[in-house]
Amino acid sequence: MTANGWFQILLFFGLVLLVTKPLGKFITRVFSRERTLLDPVLRPLERLIYRLSWVDENHEMGWKEYCISMLLFSAISMLVLYGLERLQGFLPLNPQKFGAVNSPALAFNTAASFTTNTNWQNYAGETTMSYVTQMAGLAYHNFMSAAVGIVLAIAFIRGIARRQMKTIGNFWVDLVRCNLWVLLPVCMVGALVLVSQGVVQNLKPYDTAKLIEPIQVPRVGTDGKPILDAQGKQAMDTVTEQVIAQGPVASQEIIKEFGTNGGGFFNANSSHPFENPTPLSNMLELVAIFSLGSALTYTLGQMTGSQRHGWAVWAAMAILFFSGVAVAYWAEARGNTLLAGTDQKGSLTQPGGNMEGKEVRFGIANSALWATVTTDTSCGAINSWHDSFTPIGGLVPLANVMLSEVVFGGVGSGMYGMLVYIVIAVFIAGLMVGRTPEYLGKKIEAYDVKMAMLVVLVFPLVILVFSAISAAFNFGTSSILNPGPHGLSEILYSFTSQAGNNGSAFAGLTTNTPWYNIAGAMTMLIGRFLMIIPVLAIAGNLAEKKYVPPSLGTFPVTTPLFTVLLIGVILIIGALTFFPGLSLGPILEHLLMMAGKAF
């Protein structure tokens, strides 16, 4: 670890803090339908969209109608994405002449993945998807799934703030306003800033470069196995050209980070020089990932009239973030003890550490920081491969997702995930003092706690069941790349990431198989929609309740004590559920690595 590395991490966090208040205030204005500077341009566009899609913008919805609208929209737009993938061969903007996404299971998995804000990818972008599928299918869902997450968080916050009301807003209005006012303006500007750093944005066919020096590469068959020549030696091919993939990347890159989606235009995601060319583009993308999650804590404070509560929640997130990044940075900077004859010591001329699967321009600090940030949120974009991290370095992203990504979290989903933990925290605090728990003037009763527990239980249930099946049968274990405890980590990471709608992977696992495509798609859909329904039920239930003024017996939710209690609840639930799995995977692997054992 170096002073400069820590300085970059602190600088990153300073920038996030800087945007929190202005962005949070702006979000409140947008969803309270107050005037903003952008109105002269966006209001006419907004009205046009409502006219074209028969939306009555003055209609208010109860939680059930809100929920049904959200489910219908998700289903329809998911079908359209599936259709686009399968029909892309007949559509324009396909200079590489890619055929339909094959198999149907892969297309289904991808459609579920992008609709649920997961962006789990069982394909490589540059060899599979046409430009029109990337733009109108995948990047479109990057906007929409992010907006759906945000409006659900807003609906939940309205549920807390409103008194004796049956409604929590209008799904369509919230969705459109979120896209037009919050996501689109930032992306327009952000995309161009990224292009200025070297992120590509074009619609041309891939370029072919004549290599300066032809290179010898081992010949491999279609099955990926090396081919031997007549003497039984590895056969070599001479390569004289390099085909350079292109595409409309910047416009997708920015919403992929800002909407915590994470699906790379290219297979190498944000480690690809065309997605993330410079340290500055890296920093901007990192800030984009955290900014909405952080801003929403301010919105929470503002809309519920308790700004200090917003900051108390923010503080809990900040503490969990720093704990994670410190461990990951330490472990990766320490390096891999099994690599003899290598110089892994950090110095003025190299970052040192575990550089397998990492880029030189990012080094250790920015790779460890990114891995933490992308899993604190439900982003899942990567700038280094988590599968090649040291055992403890890889444990951090895995554990982050296991804590349900509430550290700033996925846009919106992090906020409502955190609100569920808050309901449980005030419930536990209420049990300890023997009173009915209250949260910001609302009594928390059996129905709310039951719904919150449903959310908390569904998540580990789906992860552990599918992981156990995959670890027990050949159709699961045959996909493993790295043997030993690391193989279990790969499987565990895969289902955790999909249930948490994260989308990052221990990518050595071959997941483009019928089992992983179908089980993964189910995991993602359950992880998204079985969480959202109880969340909206709590929101609707809270909105109907009377306001109870705080009394002496009310547990205050604005104090450091509350922050500590909240962190405690998150860690205890996470640890009780997942510690056995973590011990058999990364922790065991770490101990064996220390003992000099390889597999």
């Binding site: 929209f73 990047a139 590469v217 480690s271 290598t342």
Partner: protein, 194 residues
């Protein structure tokens, strides 16, 4: 329910046109107007032919060139097939691969520890950079192959060493493609045709 179903369909169509087509096309137009070179991948052209992109790595293996990092993109530096090795830290395959590269690197510099970026694959498989430590390790081999002094090579390397962006961000690095092109320009050698 029925009304919301119709709205879902209409909303999907309308917003797909706006966010899925108009938005990326407008960004493409603006990018091509404001930053045409960057938006098209910073291609390097020599004698009218594209010979690579400034920010996409290429493989080099001749003794007179600085070598890029090992690559797991396709068969190696395949820029239409990016990716990493995904080998875990305790995988014997990783240890064997590193051992092989260490052995061949140490043939020129016996008993010197090899900088770690020289024996590890990058995340994209297209890393255009190496660390200054890595370049230093290769200095004497390149100088010998081009029959020039180490100081002459060192001067070119120093010229191409980029510091942290704004002195703070990222890590110090050297663009291998630019370095090798500059070496060819300043100290041309007729390399044996393979």
């Amino acid at each position: 329910m029925k009304k919301n179903l119709w709205i879902s369909i209409a909303m999907t169509v309308v917003t797909t046109v706006l966010l899925g087509l108009i938005y990326p096309l407008v960004v493409t137009g603006l990018a091509q107007m404001l930053f045409p070179h960057k938006a098209n991948g910073q291609l390097v052209v020599k004698n009218g032919k594209v010979i690579g992109s400034k920010i996409i790595g290429q493989g080099f293996s001749g003794p007179g060139y600085f070598h890029s990092r090992p690559s797991a993109a396709g068969n190696g530096y395949d820029a239409a097939n990016s990716g990493g090795s995904n080998l875990g830290p305790t995988n014997q395959k990783l240890l064997n691969r590193v051992k092989t590269v260490v052995a061949s690197a140490q043939a020129a510099n016996p008993a010197v520890s090899v900088p770690i970026d020289m024996v590890t694959t990058s995340a994209s498989g297209l890393d255009p950079h190496i660390t200054p430590a890595n370049a230093e390790f290769q200095l004497s081999r390149v100088a010998k192959a081009r029959a020039i002094s180490v100081e002459q090579v060192q001067a070119v390397v120093s010229k191409h060493t980029e510091g942290r962006q704004f002195g703070i961000l990222g890590e110090p690095r050297i663009n291998v493609l630019e370095l090798n092109l500059d070496l060819d320009r300043q100290f041309p050698v007729t390399l044996p045709k393979p």
